[in-house]
Amino acid sequence: MSTNLMTGAQVVLECLLREKVECFFGYPGGVTLPLYDALYDHEIKHILVRHEQNACFAAEGYARATGKVGVCCATSGPGATNLVTALVDSLMDSIPIVAITGQVSTKLIGSDAFQEADTFGITRSCTKHNFLVKKLAELPQIIHEAFHLAATGRPGPVLVDIPKDVFQAQGHYTPVSTIHLPGYRLNTEGHAGQIRRAAQMIWESERPMVYAGGGIVAANAADDLREFVELIDAPSVCTLMGLGSMPSTHPNFISMPGMHGSYAANMAMTGTDLLIALGVRFDDRVTGRLAAFAPHARVIHVDIDPAEIGKNRAADIPIVGDVKKVLERLKEAVRELAPEMKDKNAGARKAWWGQVRAWKKEHPLEPEMSTDEIKPQHLIAEIDRLSGGEAIVASDVGQHQMWGAQFIRFNHPRLWLNSGGLGSMGFGLPAAIGAQFARPDKLVFALVGDGGFQMSIPELATIANHALPVKIIVMNNGHLGMVRQWQELFYNNRLSAVQLDSFPDPEKLAGAYGFRGRTVESPRELRGALEAAVREPGPYLLNVRVTPFENVYPMVPAGGAINEMVLGPVQPVAV
């Protein structure tokens, strides 16, 4: 095929094919007409979404569920600007994305042509890197560089802006087998001396604690993490982005730490004398007031991105490297020291575990239940029961997300998909679409609130179009729950612009798209309704009316130390 003359558009598809792209998500327009014409009889599958933002969110869902690069496509001007939120979303969560945008012809660039926008300039700070292609000859190299940049090091979104005349130009595909980006220096191995010192510090520690995040997922290092945690027998927490890296039922796993983390997780983070931070960025939602975070701890910080180390918390042992490779070596180094060090702190370690277990027992994470009305936590617990730690849950942003993170167990990484860093409402539904395309074998829940769901509601058409068996569970409290919670707690309950009336009738809404939906209001019917939704071979929209004024606890108020949790309505605990 590559010996024939090809158009730039065909070259793009050839590159995608060589990058083993099975499908991509997009929305056509004027300047991408040549690309969509080439797609007409091409083997790569294109999924037509209903809004460009959702093309990128769906690509994120695909990438988060598989670890492969997610690909999306949009036309120039409004198409490209609609990608912006989702590009930043994937940048914040380090998700590998290649976004292809059309641009007006090179001769028209800068002339305020129809549907022209400075995509290269606009997306500069929204991407890990971006390219504006000027001629066909450089197109294959740039596209393959984009995939390389997206997938390696700290993953992220890369955008390639392609003018219409480059799509139309004729040439041959020049195979590319080498990527040379001299400024893209990756340090993956981890410093051997630092790793040895880390092993020593781990053995010297009396109260070690493993703090694992999204970097573990990105590096496919979950097995190494589990083995490492078992080897040093430390309590471990996973951040919102790292959930599933440790199986939720593992005896060494505590839960998520931070603003809505568990009592035990936050107390242990505060009490530890050695924080082993693996693929995390000491985000403010985890640390609370930084000055009071892990105040007694020395810190070992492993990350592929040198700029993360020391950004928020100084590290006693910084290790720049691929966390998977570093963990492999760290395990070895720890084992080597075992004979001489094993018994050194055995007593202290035992006492530490005793303390952590006592914290867990003192205030366990337990879902609220009621027989009169459906508590949101009850709904989450039922989803957890159906999932059994194996379903993919693509969550939107807000209270349901936090309860999901607290109560749904995950046996593996890449099951809990959520917008962690940017907190983009509207993420859940399109991410579920991408995940279901990536994993047709999996049960996929879109766990959404009534707010975020309505931001992405046009994608019901995409779901119907492909008969995707996504189970859309709307946790409907009639409010923007998290904002309402903050207004209640910090703004004298002056509820301003948080009430969401006029939610559409789900039976009619789903029916309008040709699939089934219903509302459930009684706790007695909840389990049956969820089971029916899961049994349904196609998509299902289940609108669950939950108590409207439930708050997420524990909660660390903004600016508070994480051991100063509010555990429930009006009973602050400071320890």
Binding site: L136, H172, P175, P306
Partner: protein, 183 residues
Amino acid sequence: MLQLISLLVENKPGSLMRVTGVLSARGYNIESLTVARTLDPELSRMSIVVDIDSSQRAQVIKQINKLVNVLQVSDLTEGSAVRRELVLLWVGTTQENRVAVLKEAEIFGAKAIESSVDGYALEATGDPEKLDAFVRVMQRYGEIEVTRSGLVSVPLEAKKLKLAPPVRKEHLETDQEVLKTTE
């Protein structure tokens, strides 16, 4: 306190925007900036003078270093380096003070590069404080127009350039013959 950052970047469209973007996104104002090609025409040397919070300095340097187009970043604020700035100055003269202007300029090591009945164009290099003084002195002789280059610098020791090696992508390799694009 002003920082002097020296960078080696790929000479590509957008390189400058990426670097200044890291600074502007954090609200830092650039005091001066110079960019020019190096011996290798594919690379440019940038010298930036910027006021960064001391607590954020290392972080900003790391963020700039992460940019794909940036090959090297050095903080020359305190390192051993030579720092110079160029000023081009036009000063209006009267018939009476023309000689005095030239003598004064000489004290600052400045050269007259153009002369007309109305005044002189002068050129001076030096550290920014010396040039400030030069400009102040010249102002006393008549109207002036000033253009300053911003600080440029060169470190006093060769810094080894660490570059990423080419990466072979096996999944992209093909047994088909390599064809050149024929546009």
